[in-house]
């Protein structure tokens, strides 16, 4: 993939390269993508993408939604991480459009598996996930649920999840701040791409901060269901939230369940604690001010985000 990306970067610098890339994305890849969905009987407006900044509640949102539809279908709860991954088996990049591998790689890594039919309770054909920038061309008619969290806790979570547990990682960082340094540009681009899409009436985007979802899952799950055009079933909502606790997920992990089976080389639990405000254990006041100013220079006010638990 890195070689492919390097070739693309070079190709884009050649005068017509950028235009060709743009045209390919806008037309030939888009045509493939539409056909790909059509072949699988997925209507574009019935596809929801949980598009998140990593470590910002992707799997928590999936767990809430799968438990909610399972409650509506009168199935036994809780739905644990393994069953959740069977119900929602696809990753947008791997199974619908590996755009970052193009033009030299295959358009998809593997064909998508059919998701569980219970998601029809949400009027959807597919719920998939992605950690990519907002995709103007491909996601034009999808419902996009964007989750993000304050960048300081993001760095702590990513450090705990990835860097601390994987000593063989090539760009391994020694602290959350190093992670933030590494990921700063990516975080800003992600944040900006979704705020821009939100302020544009052409795309159906709902942004929710991970911290809000964690603190008040009843309200935010209810809001997501209403946003999807459905009416909320109160008892099913209660059951779904009660079944989606971190405690339940940890118990399921202890029994061999995996929250993110695609994560390579991960040791231990997928979850650290899910707490908001852990950054205080890793950043001094001076470091906080430095990052606050650095983000502000990019138009992102981290003080306006939820920083405390």
């Amino acid at each position: 993939m890195n070689l492919n990306q390097s070739i693309r970067d070079v190709a884009r610098r050649i005068p017509p390269g950028k235009s060709l890339d743009f045209l390919a994305r806008g037309f030939s890849y888009a045509l493939f993508y539409k056909g790909h969905l059509r072949e699988r009987g997925i209507e574009q407006h019935k596809m929801m993408i949980i598009a998140t900044i990593a470590r910002s509640g992707t799997h928590y949102a999936m767990l809430l939604l799968t438990n909610y539809v399972a409650a509506l279908a009168s199935r036994k709860l809780p739905i644990g991480p393994s069953e959740m991954n069977i119900m929602l088996p696809n990753n947008w990049h791997l199974n619908y459009m590996s755009y970052h591998k193009l033009p030299f790689g295959p358009m998809i890594a593997s064909p998508p598996k059919p998701p569980n039919g219970d998601i029809a309770y949400l009027r959807l054909d597919e719920i998939t996930r992605s950690h990519s920038l907002f995709q103007k061309v491909y996601w034009r008619h999808h419902k996009v649920l964007h989750l993000y969290r304050n960048p300081l806790d993001y760095s702590v979570s990513l450090y705990n999840y990835k860097h601390k547990k994987r000593p063989d990682l090539p760009d391994r960082c020694e602290s959350p701040e190093e992670v933030l340094e590494l990921k700063f540009e990516n975080y800003c681009q992600m944040y900006e791409s979704y705020t821009r899409a939100s302020s544009d009436g052409r795309y159906s985007v709902l942004r929710i901060a991970y911290e809000s979802l964690i603190f008040e899952p009843h309200f935010w799950l209810r809001s997501i269901v209403e946003w999807l055009g459905c009416e909320v079933d109160g008892p099913a909502l209660e059951e779904a939230v009660a079944a989606s606790t971190i405690k339940n997920v940890k118990q399921a992990e202890n029994l061999g369940g995996k929250v993110n089976p695609e994560a390579l080389g991960l040791r231990g639990s997928f979850i650290s604690s899910g707490q908001v405000g852990q950054w205080r254990e890793h950043y001094t006041d001076r470091q906080f001010l430095f990052w606050k100013d650095k983000f502000l220079a990019r138009g992102i006010d981290i003080e306006a985000m939820i920083l405390e638990g």
């Binding site: 019935k46 939100s198 052409r202 809000s212 055009g229």
Partner: protein
């Protein structure tokens, strides 16, 4: 209204029913007002489902934001705040039926330049590419609140229906069409957010935060709480009303009757009040 204005209303209003004409007029209005589609959000609601509650929350939030971050004037209870922040209706202000008024500059805190309102089904062609905020509630509750807050208390309209059941029977199809048009996710090309009155009533602060997230902003939670506290001072919005004639004296309105209805439903938001209405 001058003769010229009356003539303009009489000529243009019927044309707006046509979606293509409406779209052309709307685009023209945006153009002459130097606005882009992303600058406005249409507050498209079923009447008596929280339109004014949402307007008050957003207006107070914007004013409080300006007070906190932009040296804006100190914000106090103001029953007319929505009229200066959001003075336009889409039907008139954005289709040349009437002139478009300039909203309060502090609306900029919401990342938009206007929030015109509308009480009609989703106009998927006219409004394509524009963000739409929609409020709705249980349709029987809606009929009941509408009866008490619009018809029963106003001597001009009292005889329009024999009671809430009659009102429900006569408006059910239109209300259902409005509801269905916004719930239908197949209607692409419109970024819409649905807000139920029940959610709004039970958790106004989070509902305000939800709208701000959807607008692409970071909600200031302290300001959300203050906005809710200020909005709650205008009682008529808490049951789903809040029109101008609820807030300011109007010679046609029986205020004793209106106030009795509002006060007896403040605790519940009139949620569930329509349970005795029948589907005939």
């Amino acid at each position: 209204m001058s003769i010229f204005q009356r003539a303009r209303v009489a000529i243009i209003r019927p044309l707006v029913d046509n979606d293509l004409v409406a779209r052309i007029l709307f685009s023209l209005r945006l153009c002459v007002s130097n606005l882009q589609k992303k600058d406005i959000v249409i507050l498209a609601t079923t009447t008596k489902t929280g339109t004014h509650y949402v307007r008050f929350l957003l207006a107070y939030y914007a004013a409080l934001w300006s007070e906190k971050y932009d040296n804006g004037p100190v914000v106090e209870v103001d029953h007319a705040i929505v009229d200066s922040f959001f003075p336009n209706s889409w039907h008139s202000g954005y289709t040349f039926v009437l002139s478009r008024k300039q909203p309060d500059y502090r609306i900029g805190a919401l990342g938009i330049k206007d929030l015109p309102r509308s009480h009609m089904s989703l106009r998927s062609f006219s409004w394509r590419g524009v963000r739409v905020l929609h409020t709705y509630r249980d349709r029987k509750d809606q009929a009941m609140v509408s009866w008490f807050m619009k018809f029963n208390c106003d001597r001009r309209f009292r005889s329009a229906y024999s009671g809430p059941q009659d009102l429900y029977d006569n408006t059910r199809d239109e209300t259902l069409a409005q509801y269905s048009s916004f719930a239908d996710i197949a209607k692409g090309g419109t970024n819409s957010l649905r807000i139920s009155f029940e959610n709004l009533f039970h958790d106004p602060s989070n509902t305000l935060a939800l709208i701000l997230y959807w607008l692409g902003l970071e909600p200031d939670r302290e300001l959300c709480e203050r906005a809710v506290s200020l909005a709650k001072q205008t009682q008529s919005i808490l049951v789903g009303g809040g029109e101008k004639w609820h807030r300011f004296p109007n010679e046609h309105v029986d205020y004793a009757e209106l106030q009795e209805f509002i006060e007896s439903n403040l605790e519940t938001g009139a949620i569930g009040i329509g349970r005795n209405i029948l589907d005939t």
